[in-house]
C-alpha cells in the first residue's frame, strides 16, 4: 500500500464510477497499473463494496433509522466479538461498532416504521444473553451522510474583480 494506492482509494470513495482511463490520468499512472492495483485492493478486502450515498428521506420510502446503544457483559476469552457477530447477522443492522464510553456496542438500525424498530429491539436484541441495557435513539433528520451534505446550500458565487 503506497501513496498511489491511497490516491486511488480516495478517488473511488468519492466516485466509484470514475472510468479507468480517467483514474489513470488523475493518479498519474497507466491504465494497466490502475487495473492491477484495484484488483489487488479488492482481493485483499481493502475495497469492500461499491455503493451509492442515498438520501432516503428524499427518496421518500418512509424508512426510519435509529442509533441503538447496548451495554453488554463481555464473555471470558471472547470479549464482545461473539455477541457482536450474532447481532451483525440481523439484516436490519446497517452498522455495528464497539465504542468507548457509557455503552459498549452501537448499532445503526433501519426499519419501515418506529414501531418495527421498537419491536426489533424489544423482541430480538434486548432478550439476548449478556445484553444488560439498551437505549434507542430515532433519527429525526440527516444533515450529512458519509461526508456528503444533504441540506441544500446555495453555492458561493465568486464576485467579479479585475484580475
Amino acid at each position: 500500500m503506497d501513496e498511489k494506492d491511497r490516491t486511488l482509494l480516495h478517488l473511488l470513495e468519492e466516485n466509484c464510477r470514475t472510468p479507468i482511463s480517467e483514474l489513470a490520468v488523475l493518479a498519474e499512472m497507466s491504465e494497466q497499473d490502475v487495473k492491477k492495483r484495484i484488483a489487488w485492493l479488492e482481493s485483499t478486502g481493502v475495497i469492500r463494496r461499491y455503493g451509492a450515498v442515498i438520501d432516503w428521506e428524499r427518496a421518500g420510502n418512509g424508512n426510519v433509522t435509529s442509533v441503538i446503544d447496548l451495554k453488554v457483559s463481555p464473555e471470558r476469552d471472547f470479549g464482545y466479538d461473539r455477541i457482536a457477530e450474532r447481532i451483525a447477522r440481523f439484516p436490519q443492522v446497517r452498522s455495528l461498532r464497539l465504542m468507548t464510553g457509557t455503552y459498549d456496542l452501537q448499532l445503526l438500525v433501519t426499519g419501515s416504521s418506529m414501531h418495527e424498530i421498537a419491536r426489533f429491539v424489544a423482541e430480538q436484541i434486548a432478550p439476548m444473553d449478556r445484553i444488560r441495557e439498551t437505549a434507542t435513539h430515532i433519527t429525526m433528520k440527516t444533515y450529512k451522510e458519509n461526508g456528503t451534505t444533504f441540506a441544500e446550500r446555495e453555492e458561493v458565487e465568486r464576485l467579479p474583480y479585475s484580475f
Binding site: 490516491t7 480516495h10 478517488l11 480517467e22 490520468v25 488523475l26 493518479a27 498519474e28 458561493v156 465568486r158 474583480y161 484580475f163
Partner: protein, 368 residues
C-alpha cells in the same frame, strides 16, 4: 453572458476551511474588532515565523523582520516602494502577475522585463537575467511557483540567479504566495541561500494555500533595515491588516494544515486532468509543477492568444486570459486557472474541443 465557465480568475473555488471561519466568528463575538499593532498581532507574526522556519527553512525574527499586510498585493507594493528610488531599474521576471510593473512605475522606477521561456519550462535563467542588468539595476522581482505559467525554481536554478544578485549588488523581491501549491518535491525559498538572505524580501500570504482571498492577509519578511522602511509605508497607507483576518490566519497556521493539504491534493488531480485534456486537444502544455494555472500554447490553432480567448468566450462561453497581457513571453499562450471543480474542467475541455472543431470546419469551408 450566461453559463460562462471562468478559468480566468486566480481564485480558489474552495471556501475557507471551516475551522478557520469558526475561530474568526468567535473572535468577533468576543469583541476583536480593533486595530492591531502596525506590523500585525504578535501571535500571528510568531506563527508566521515558526511556519516559515519549519516549512521552508527560512526563519525570520517575528519582532523585527515580519510585517503582516493587506494581502500580498500590499506587501509587493510596500516592498517595491521601500527599496526603489526614482531612476532605478527593476527587473521583473515575466510572464507575471499584473501588479509588479505598475508598482515599480508608481515608485518612480523603470521596470525591465526578463523573459522566462516555454523551452526552459518557464524558469528564470541566469543568462536571461544577465542580459538585462545595467549599472542602474536595483532589484529583481520574481514569483515562483509562477502565475501564470506554473513554472517553479529549484535550488540549483536559484543558486545561479543568486550569484548574479551578489555580483551586481541587487535586491530580490520574491513573491511566494503559491509556495504551498508545489506538486513535485518541496518549494525552494531563495532566502534559504545564505549569500542572498540579507538581500531578499520574501512575500507570502494566505489567499491561495488556505483559500482565504477575501480575508486580505499577506506578509512581508526581510532583514530589519528593509522591514523598518517598509513598515513606515505600511503604517501610513494601511495602518494595519484587518484583525479578523489576522485571527483567521493565525488559526489557519495552527490547525488548518490538513485541510490545506487536502486542497493541494485536489489541485494536483485537477492539474493532471486538465493538462492531459489540453494536450489531447493539440494545445501543447507543459505539466506545471506549481500554482494552479495551465499555460498552453495556442499557436497550433493559427490564432493569436487574444483572438483565441475572445472567440472562445464568445462562441463557447469559456473564459481564459490571453498570455500576452501578462508579459511578452506569454504571447501565443493562454492562462487557464484550474481552481474550479473537475466537472467544470471536463465541461470546459469539451467546450474547447467543440470550439476547435468548429474552427477547423469553418477553415475548410472558407478554403473550398
Amino acid at each position: 453572458m450566461e453559463d460562462v465557465i471562468s478559468l480566468g480568475v486566480g481564485e480558489p473555488d474552495f471556501v475557507t476551511p471551516w475551522c478557520v471561519c469558526e475561530a474568526a466568528i468567535y473572535s468577533i463575538e468576543q469583541g476583536s474588532t480593533t486595530y492591531t499593532s502596525n506590523k500585525g498581532t504578535p501571535q500571528l507574526r510568531g506563527a508566521i515565523s515558526h511556519y516559515l522556519g519549519t516549512r521552508f527553512g527560512t526563519p525570520y525574527d517575528p519582532e523585527e523582520e515580519v510585517i503582516v499586510t493587506c494581502g500580498v498585493s500590499e506587501a509587493a507594493d510596500i516592498a517595491i516602494r521601500a527599496v526603489v528610488d526614482p531612476g532605478d531599474e527593476v527587473l521583473v521576471a515575466e510572464p507575471c502577475y499584473v501588479s509588479y510593473i505598475p508598482c515599480v512605475t508608481l515608485a518612480g522606477g523603470t521596470p525591465v522585463s526578463v523573459p522566462c521561456r516555454a523551452e526552459d519550462e518557464f524558469r528564470l535563467t541566469a543568462d536571461a537575467l544577465a542580459e538585462k542588468i545595467t549599472p542602474r539595476t536595483k532589484a529583481l522581482v520574481a514569483n515562483f511557483p509562477n502565475n501564470p505559467t506554473g513554472g517553479v525554481m529549484g535550488e540549483s536554478d536559484w543558486r545561479a540567479v543568486a550569484d548574479l544578485l551578489v555580483d551586481h549588488d541587487l535586491l530580490l523581491i520574491s513573491d511566494e504566495v503559491y509556495a504551498e501549491l508545489t506538486y513535485d518535491g518541496d518549494h525552494f525559498s531563495p532566502a534559504r541561500i545564505p549569500e542572498i538572505r540579507d538581500r531578499t524580501i520574501t512575500l507570502n500570504g494566505f489567499s491561495k494555500a488556505f483559500a482565504m482571498t477575501g480575508w486580505r492577509i499577506g506578509y512581508l519578511c526581510a532583514p530589519r533595515e528593509i522591514t523598518a522602511a517598509a513598515l513606515k509605508i505600511h503604517q501610513y497607507v494601511a495602518l494595519c491588516a484587518p484583525i479578523m483576518g489576522q485571527v483567521a490566519a493565525y488559526e489557519a497556521l495552527r490547525i488548518g494544515e490538513a485541510e490545506k493539504d487536502a486542497m493541494v491534493r485536489e489541485y494536483r488531480l485537477r492539474r493532471n486532468l486538465f493538462v492531459d485534456g489540453l494536450n489531447k486537444l493539440g494545445l501543447s502544455c507543459h505539466l506545471p509543477k506549481g500554482a494552479f494555472y495551465a499555460f498552453p500554447s495556442v499557436e497550433s490553432t493559427g490564432m493569436s492568444d487574444t483572438e483565441f480567448a475572445e472567440a472562445l468566450l464568445r462562441e463557447q462561453h469559456v473564459a481564459v486570459v490571453p498570455g500576452s497581457v501578462l508579459g511578452p513571453s506569454g504571447l501565443g499562450h493562454v492562462r487557464c486557472a484550474y481552481a474550479v471543480s473537475r466537472d467544470h474542467l471536463k465541461d470546459a475541455l469539451s467546450r474547447m474541443e467543440a470550439f476547435l472543431e468548429s474552427r477547423k470546419l469553418s477553415e475548410q469551408i472558407s478554403s473550398n
